[in-house]
Symmetry: C2
Subunit: 355 residues, 2 copies
């Protein structure tokens, strides 16, 4: 099987239509769950993993959801397709990189809901939304979680809450992450200052692709760290307050930039488009940085040649697996940089008026 | 009077049609001369300067040359027009910046021959040629010099030769300068090494606009330093040998660059055009650097959308006085950077196919 049919569409979370979309790209909540009476994945034999996988697959595929889930076994997918799902944020890098053992993922056609089976935990549920939508995401994931829990018995401890393979997730098993686009704070070197407050209240900042990744394109994920001794609602309140604060900083910085150097900002945006339209070699890192400038330019109304949806699509399509699927062949680093540049040139020259 | 009628044309030396034109932009020879029985300019009263000016103007305008000289009095020109002549290399910055006293310049319609009256010396003759053309330039300037000398008496000393206001010019009064475009030596950090040999043999390297100017756009002028105790022919031989050596280095560096990173070079050139076509603010410094990449790209056949003549024209037109004449108004730095960017965008989008 392959996943090419998903290529032309964008997940709902990437459409840029959600609340506070000028700063907040997307909201994600995930829950870590395990089944009672089964050892954790990292302590299971392949036989035991297969049992868990069968149980969860049956349950998941039979859920009566408004948007049906499609289940895929990781073993049936090429490395390229697994990477493709990582880029769409439907599965984790970890799940993609495990090379054997029964494991799978399920997702709906909006790419809002996704589930992973036999990752670090036996079941990881995830809901993604466009913009800042913690409540909507929570309501949806809570609903699905309850539905599953009505059919299976989770590993749960009266005092600790949900039990997980890694102790850092014990309790609610919930991690809420909000992805922010903070180019103005980056440009004005205020990003460190803005994030300083986060650690005190146990929130974590990471780059686009999770732990250890650089914040390419000025994208940052902010997540709660504490799952024990704090309710889901309290954790969501903490993160919501901080996000509002950071949005305020970012918007102030944007306003100041336009007020103090409108021409300079316009130039920056125009050059970013010019480079995307003309380079013949382009890394995904640089693509991200240039598209970040274009995205900012759109939100500041410094340009309008390129629609936001195209920018969002290019963020996704310029990534390695998407690019290779679009080109219809496996490409090494150099060839990929050339293909990426070709793709960006053609897409942006088509969509932008030459004025 | 104003010089707007010269705007649409390029001096012959800028056409890029001369010998070794891939590396050598132009050749220039100038002679410093003074009249016998008149004090040097820096020791003259305004009355004495006026006498000299009248004498030289009469002589110069009556020369029977294949291309007639047009004489302009500096006092009749605006600061903008004087700067315009500097940018066309027809007069020196020094002549343009003197604010009073009788002084003038003459040049032919090819902008090959030019003369300055009452600059540092009473008479400066200059011949410019496209490409490496030391002999042709020498023959022409020598012919004009003889013609003038047949009508006027130069300050000349049997032992020292031609006498000049500054002792560094005494003797032949000749300075031969070759303007080189050395982007590959710049890129591969070999420029210092290549120039090391020059000082030993008394040659001088300067940036595009003479002493003290940075080598913007990888353009370098190499000139002889010695005018005393060495014949014109010997000085020209010295410089010719060195130029051939440096051309060889530059070409080797270009070949190596294309061999080792053709894609990288192509990308560099494409990005340069892209930036010129899209920026909304652009300094003349950056313009020079970007056009330098485009010029290299043309000579390496890495692109062909933009004709060499357009590139050469843009080198000239993007300079402050030319730009302001093209725009028809006096512009300050910021407004000039915006106007320059607008001009470059329109010129390059017209001439380059969007492919």
């Amino acid at each position: 099987m392959n996943l090419d049919s998903m290529l032309p569409t964008l997940g709902e979370w990437l459409k840029g239509t959600g609340p506070e979309g000028d700063v907040v790209v997307s909201t994600r909540i995930r829950l870590a769950r395990n089944l009672a009476d089964h050892p954790f994945t990292n302590r299971s034999s392949n036989h035991e993993k297969a049992e868990v996988e069968a149980k969860l697959r049956d349950c998941v595929t039979q859920l009566d959801l408004p948007h049906k889930l499609r289940y895929v076994e990781m073993g049936d997918l090429s490395a390229l397709d697994r990477q493709f799902l990582v880029e769409r944020q439907l599965i984790s890098r970890e799940l993609a990189n495990v090379l054997e053992g029964p494991r799978g993922a399920a997702f709906d056609d909006r790419e809002s809901v996704s589930l992973m089976v036999n990752e670090e935990d036996q079941l990881r549920l995830q809901v993604m939304r466009s913009g800042l939508a913690l409540d909507a995401a929570w309501d949806e994931i809570d609903f699905i979680d309850d539905m599953i829990e009505s059919k299976l018995t989770y590993a749960f401890h009266e005092q600790f809450g949900y039990l997980t393979a890694c102790p850092t997730n014990v309790g609610t098993g919930m991690r809420a992450s909000v992805m922010l686009h903070l180019p103005a704070l980056g440009m004005t070197k205020q990003i460190e200052k803005a994030f300083k407050a986060l650690q005190k209240i146990n929130l974590v900042v990471r780059g686009l692709y999770g732990e250890g990744s650089r914040a390419s394109g000025d994208f940052y994920q902010i997540s709660n760290q504490v799952t024990l001794g704090k309710s889901e609602a309290a954790a969501l309140t903490d993160i919501r307050e901080v996000i509002h604060e950071i949005m305020r900083y970012e918007r102030m910085a944007r306003t100041a930039l336009v007020r103090e150097s409108r021409q300079g900002m316009q130039d920056r945006v125009a050059r970013a488009i010019g480079t995307l339209q003309s380079a013949t070699m382009m890394t995904s890192e640089e693509t991200m940085d240039l598209l970040s400038s274009v995205r900012l330019g759109l939100h500041l109304k410094l340009m309008e040649e390129v629609p936001l949806e195209t920018v969002n699509e290019l963020f996704l399509h310029s990534q390695p697996a998407h690019l290779q699927k679009l080109m219809g062949e496996i490409l090494d680093g150099e060839a990929r940089n050339a293909a990426r540049a070709r793709y960006l040139r053609s897409r942006l020259r088509d969509s932008a008026g030459q004025n």
